[in-house]
């Protein structure tokens, strides 16, 4: 079971769960955490193939991804705080300033 196919399957399932979460949940925290789950899934995929090809490049890329995820965490959560301060709500459907009023 712990063959290439198995690891690939797990990583794809994690990625899918993350994608579904971004699309279907309204709570902004959950959206953020789904993004992090997606990144995790991809990391697993990269490391799997690093082992498959016996090449360290996959792991290097994975480290880059983690670094970026960290940076993103900082920014994302600051933005969440700011949004919560203005609208006092965690609902993403509240933020519709991109829309033009249709007469």
């Amino acid at each position: 079971m712990s063959s290439l196919t198995g690891y690939a399957a797990v990583s794809m399932i994690l990625f899918s769960l993350g994608a579904i979460g971004v699309v279907s949940r309204r709570n902004i925290f959950v959206i953020y955490m789904s993004i992090e789950l997606m990144l995790n899934g991809i990391n697993l995929f990269l490391v799997t193939f690093a082992r498959y090809h016996f090449n360290m490049d996959g792991q290097i890329m994975s480290i880059m991804v983690i670094a970026i995820a960290a940076a993103e965490a900082a920014i994302f959560l600051s933005v969440i705080i700011l949004l919560f301060k203005t609208k006092k709500s965690l609902d993403t459907n509240m933020f519709t300033q991109l829309k033009e009023e249709v007469k």
């Binding site: 971004v22 699309v23 959206i31 993403t92 459907n93 933020f95 519709t96 033009e100 249709v102």
Partner: protein, 629 residues
């Protein structure tokens, strides 16, 4: 042989029209132009044209060859080549002789009649233009040029009928004349086209067609003959395209005299005579023409017995006499028909002018019973009127007798006893209603003291001249049995008319019969109307009085139905279907846009969803391709 005069005959009235038109513009825009100027230009030009025509006539009398004048090549497309060319053969010169002469007299009459009218100059411009168009028609060398004149007289007729344009009824009458004529014109054009193709596209001029007539198949000749006659039906007011003629009386009396008595309405007969080579070879169409003529003659005469407007009575009488002419040309007696055209021009123009003089004297009263009530003493008018009425009834030795009798004898000789019978009965009715008119207007006892009214010389002079013609014109074609010269018959010999050849006994018997019939009509009118109480006028009631409701029938059949169709096209097809379709298309686009705009609801999660959907679709497609390999 070539001559420059044919163009001048036409150009002179045309120039008169243009000069008068120019002066009229000046008159209404800048300063007043005296009526005398318009009158002089308007009357001198037809007179000079008459002199030129007389000159050509005398030359032809001396034995000269036919005159031609080619101006320029007008159209040349493949085998069809049309030249602007005029032909002055015996028929054309004969027609243009009395057209210019009677036209000139009526122009003089119009000077007196239209005196004081605001549009005096405009009237003479139109009138001269009419004369020019009629001359183009008569002098044309090929049917296309004839059609130019044909259309021109139609236009001038419309312009002049609607002359008193402030009253909408007059304009409607003008429209009616033009539109009904148009129906006829369509037939004419189709006839010319058919003839052109029937003759295998050899030449379009009359002389060429005459030479090539044997090339055409009989069926095509029948078709083109019929179509050309439809044009004549419209122009010469025969059944069923006659409805415009009574309404055309809305125009001033001079045009009723010239256009609707002497000239334009005879264009149809002239055309049939011109195409004699065609009609001689298709006798079925000729018989059809004769029957139409007989029916129109009888029909009009019946209606005229109940009319009360003096001009309408004369209009129906014109239609009736035109029917006689068509009987003649239909049966192949071209010269007899044209002779009746000639005599009819004289006495009908005179009758109309006399009626116009009476109308003027009685302050524009047109109902014959009211005219009887207010009678004044009008010696010259009533005398010339009497001469005209006797002439039209066919009493010898006035001219109407000779021409009408020739036609009736022709019908009898050809074995067309029905036509002969209808013609005889129509003669009876003609005498009846014309004398009814005369008695009621001039003779029935009026309680009013008859004061003498001075009538202008410009009105009486033409009346007298035409009276001489009405009396004497008959002698131009004095029949052979009276040892006459039969001048007109021999003049028009090249038309190959059928000749009268019956025994003298029959001919005398027929003459006596027609005189008897006319006398009977006069007698009945005398009994009824000589002492008629004009203070109890007849009204136009009943089937005959309402003109057999033909106008109403036409209105329902044609006007209403076409109007309904137009309304249908505008409202249903144009508004609902075509517009509706276009508007639906554009609205559909707008609606689709509105519905699609829902996608952009500014909710970023939805955008992410759409991206996901897109990726999903693409990967599905790639997956399908991948497992296929």
């Amino acid at each position: 042989m070539q001559t420059p005069y044919l163009l001048w005959i036409i150009l002179l009235p045309l120039a008169g029209a243009l000069i008068n038109a120019g002066f009229y513009f000046y008159h209404i825009k800048f300063r007043e132009v005296p009526e005398k100027l318009f009158a002089i230009v308007g009357t001198v030009t037809p007179f000079i044209a008459f002199l030129f025509t007389l000159n050509l006539f005398l030359q032809l009398l001396d034995g000269s060859a036919n005159f031609e004048q080619t101006l320029f090549q007008w159209l040349e497309v493949d085998q069809m080549s049309i030249e602007m060319k005029f032909l002055g053969d015996k028929l054309s010169i004969f027609m243009s002789m009395f057209v210019t002469f009677v036209g000139w007299l009526i122009h003089i009459y119009a000077v007196g009649y239209m005196k004081g009218d605001k549009g005096f100059g405009k009237f003479f411009a139109y009138f001269n233009l009419f004369l020019a168009s009629m001359l183009i028609l008569v002098l044309a060398d090929n049917p296309v040029i004839l059609f130019i004149g044909w259309e021109g007289v139609g236009v001038c007729s419309y312009l002049l009928i609607s002359f008193y344009y402030t009253d909408a009824n007059n304009v409607m009458a003008g429209n009616k004349a033009f539109i009904v004529n148009r129906v006829g014109d369509l037939g004419f054009i189709l006839g010319v086209v058919t003839l052109f193709f029937a003759l295998n596209q050899t030449g379009l001029s009359f002389t060429e067609m005459k030479a090539n007539i044997h090339l055409a198949s009989n069926d095509l000749l029948i078709l083109s003959g019929f179509l050309l006659f439809i044009g004549a039906m419209g122009k010469s007011a025969q059944v069923p395209l006659y409805v415009w003629l009574p309404d055309a009386m809305a125009g001033p009396t001079p045009i009723s005299a010239l256009i609707h008595a002497a000239t334009m309405v005879t264009a149809g007969i002239y055309m049939v005579a011109r195409f004699h080579f065609l009609y001689s070879s298709v006798e079925e169409i000729g018989l059809f023409i004769a029957y139409i003529g007989a029916i129109s003659a009888l029909f009009a005469a019946v209606i005229a017995t109940k009319q009360t407007d003096i001009k309408k009575i004369l209009a129906y009488s014109t239609m009736s006499q035109l029917g006689y002419m068509f009987i003649a040309v239909g049966l192949g007696f071209y010269s007899s028909g044209l002779f009746h055209v000639f005599t009819h021009a004289f006495f009908k123009a005179m009758l109309f002018m006399g009626a116009g003089g009476a109308i003027l004297a009685l302050h524009h009263e047109q109902n014959i019973f009211k005219m009887g009530q207010h009678r004044k003493r009008l010696p010259i008018i009533s005398a010339t009127f009497l001469i005209g009425v006797i002439a039209i009834s066919g009493i010898p030795p006035f001219s109407g007798f000779f021409s009408k009798d020739a036609i009736l004898a022709a019908a009898f000789q050809e074995g067309q006893y029905l036509i002969w019978g209808m013609g005889m009965f129509t003669a009876f009715l003609t005498a009846f209603y014309m004398f009814r008119l005369y008695f009621v207007v001039f003779k029935a006892p009026s309680k009013q003291e008859e004061s003498y009214v001075y009538t202008d010389k410009t009105i009486t002079f033409p009346l007298v001249v035409l009276a001489i013609g009405a009396i004497g014109a008959g002698f131009l074609n004095f029949p052979a049995i009276f040892h006459g010269s039969a001048f007109v018959d021999s003049w028009l010999a090249e038309l190959n008319s059928v000749k009268l050849h019956m025994s003298h006994g029959t001919e005398y018997a027929l003459m006596v019969a027609s005189i008897a019939v006319a006398a009977a009509g006069i007698f009945v009118a005398y009994k009824k109307y000589y002492n008629y109480d004009v203070y109890k006028p007849e009204t136009e009631d009943g089937l005959i009085g309402n003109k057999f409701y033909i106008d109403e029938i036409y209105h329902v059949l044609f006007v209403k139905s076409i109007k309904k169709m137009s309304v249908f096209f505008v409202e249903t097809i144009d508004d609902k279907i075509i517009d509706g379709f276009l508007m639906a298309t554009s609205k559909g686009f707008v609606n689709i846009g509105k519905k699609l705009a829902v996608i952009q609801n500014a909710n970023v999660r939805y955008y992410a969803f759409y991206m996901l959907a897109g990726i999903s679709v693409i990967s599905f497609y790639v997956y399908i391709t991948l497992i296929g390999q």
